[in-house]
Symmetry: C3
Subunit: 304 residues, 3 copies
Amino acid sequence: MKHVLESQQFTKEILYDLFKKADSLKENSEKLLENKILATIFYEPSTRTRLSFESAMLKLGGRVISTENAKEFSSAVKGESVRDTIKVIAAYADCIVIRHYEEGSAKEAAEASSVPVINAGDGKGQHPTQALLDIYTIHKELERIDGIKIAMVGDLLSGRTVRSLCYLLGKFKDIEIVFVSPDNLKMKDDIKEYLNKHNIKFREENDLNKILQEVDVVYMTRIQKERMSQNDYENAKGKFIINEKNFNLVNKNSIIMHPLPHVEEIELPMEIEENDKRVAYFRQAENGLYIRMALLNILINEKR
Amino acid sequence: MKHVLESQQFTKEILYDLFKKADSLKENSEKLLENKILATIFYEPSTRTRLSFESAMLKLGGRVISTENAKEFSSAVKGESVRDTIKVIAAYADCIVIRHYEEGSAKEAAEASSVPVINAGDGKGQHPTQALLDIYTIHKELERIDGIKIAMVGDLLSGRTVRSLCYLLGKFKDIEIVFVSPDNLKMKDDIKEYLNKHNIKFREENDLNKILQEVDVVYMTRIQKERMSQNDYENAKGKFIINEKNFNLVNKNSIIMHPLPHVEEIELPMEIEENDKRVAYFRQAENGLYIRMALLNILINEKR
Amino acid sequence: MKHVLESQQFTKEILYDLFKKADSLKENSEKLLENKILATIFYEPSTRTRLSFESAMLKLGGRVISTENAKEFSSAVKGESVRDTIKVIAAYADCIVIRHYEEGSAKEAAEASSVPVINAGDGKGQHPTQALLDIYTIHKELERIDGIKIAMVGDLLSGRTVRSLCYLLGKFKDIEIVFVSPDNLKMKDDIKEYLNKHNIKFREENDLNKILQEVDVVYMTRIQKERMSQNDYENAKGKFIINEKNFNLVNKNSIIMHPLPHVEEIELPMEIEENDKRVAYFRQAENGLYIRMALLNILINEKR
């Protein structure tokens, strides 16, 4: 593994190895990457993702150089290619995390770079470390991945995370996926074909309350207002909500996940969010830290 | 002391303890916070304050993750609450410094956070570490706080620093405060009531030159143009100025303070600013570093 | 050497000493600046330059505080002078790198600062560390500076780098410079007078292909569209280009340099850029790291 570009690249074996490393780094991480430098090069801001990578690097004893202004010295301003930018940055750092607004940019960066590149989201493309923390969270919370039943709820059309998670679930056995989305935001055919090819059972449903009682994981997503027309948003919003009324339909040993930020699709009182162990999304966000520590350690130390 | 939210929370005892720690950390600070991470989360830029906190953390051997773009993943953009944002950041760091444009946000952050939160200014609310460095400066420069006579000059209506300093002075004995401000920018009644309740003598005066000769501390402030109408600004500006002419009315052992940035309200030649020890405002800014080191050390190490 | 403000300040002796230190720091740099803090204060973004300085500081074991938002607390917003800003920052850091949009600001900062200041570009003024990495690159690639023949090609009017490089070349012997530029973007008279005074031979030429065969160094520059009228740009662009056709006119032991970013003035296939050793501009960018490490080490350690 030289670069991390898309979730398909991970085999089941690599995933379990990653989980083990993440568990172990959570306990003890000191100085593994001392004197190493991570560059976080963001062509658009994504503070949560950036801070998570930077905290991961610092906890490993490494250092960070960073920009949320990468656009300033990119093609948009003076006409420089991502390739040239990354060739130069690669001389300053031991690993590069890139976030870009155009699909394919992470791959272009990886081709130019002499050091490992991690894709932290490229336009409508992938965000593989989000998918990794999602599958790691399922593994930790349920103590298994094979055989689980998962509902994916909300904006399945624009949602990058559910698509990447489907790719990863395709590596496992006896998975069952239930898609629950407004009519105008359904999961696309390419993912359905992929799931068919990998013998993953899936179906589409409309009754969220019925589904809540059936599944091990409820993966909620936000309606991405900023990626659709006002009309599409009005038709979609508020259709599928978890609140105090239907929350208790969720099985005692099941979990609710969400890539965050969450808005109106989850309306639980603070009391429940803080104390009910079925609310897994804050632990899920924290898991991002350990998965990214594991990735950085593997990429930078294997390079040596 | 779990969080630092407002200047009222500090007792005289805690203040003197803080001063002692600040003095000692100025001399020797190495590695007290090694492997600890500070997150500076700024919803609006305030570079001086942010760099002061970050330098304090680095001098203690700690590390920093930072954003001036916190708005990008806040309610303003996708609808996430400060509470959710801070819950996630708290997993990445050992302490959070927050600056927000809305009063009350720091308290909201503290309630959500599993790690200590420091308020670095929330809207019209407080900026307690500024007040702490002000009172520490008086203590260091005059070698006493009880019994001092202080003039607060300029924009006493919008000025957050003079209000917070009044709260702190309320903890001490035999203080005398003279308010000198344009008619449209007078100190508000809530502070006057607080001072009355704490037996602090105060009065309002108009003749700056007379007052300069009487007081131990001249606390100058900038007319905050950006927080008032053009008309109010025109009526207020230039009313109370310290320049080469009246500077020598200040007693030899008295000091001039200013929270900075200063503009036209202080017009002293470079020669005087660099060499006359009555000009205390650059030492005051430097004291912010030591007070913040002391706070970070107490908050993060007491948490352990 | 207290500050780094302009390329003229470097003697031949200091330059060779700097080259030696840069060579040696490339091999071993650990912990020379442990516990030291660098402040990068950018009044306008220049991510490449900033990251290069920050990486240099981190590789020396130091730490960094940083802003690309310095304008936010400068005269533009509240009326504070660069002088006051820098006086305060100097209390937080052991060295300051400043980038400003106004010529002369770096000098103003240096006068106010109690710690070393490095000019990272001030408006139409200088960017001395770029000139240092350029001359260091010539030294490393050609193993000599005296006696070289160099073509400077492109926007010689607005280009800050070619001007600064001329100042440095003036320190050496038997240099020959050929200026190749569109008619509306010629090198200014002040530099020509300086070269005359220092006995540096120079001439202006129009036939790039002829010149490519004659020189040891081809220093290409971008037409700075953002600093001229649309009309001037149209008249200048595309006049002097290196591409697959004329590239092989360059002698086997000669090099092509460019301060980057490069756009249409160099149109070489990736194959050549990656493998032909005459393409020196990515090595040139990397050399910036070592030169800046050498400078930081000298400035901060000599201060002690």
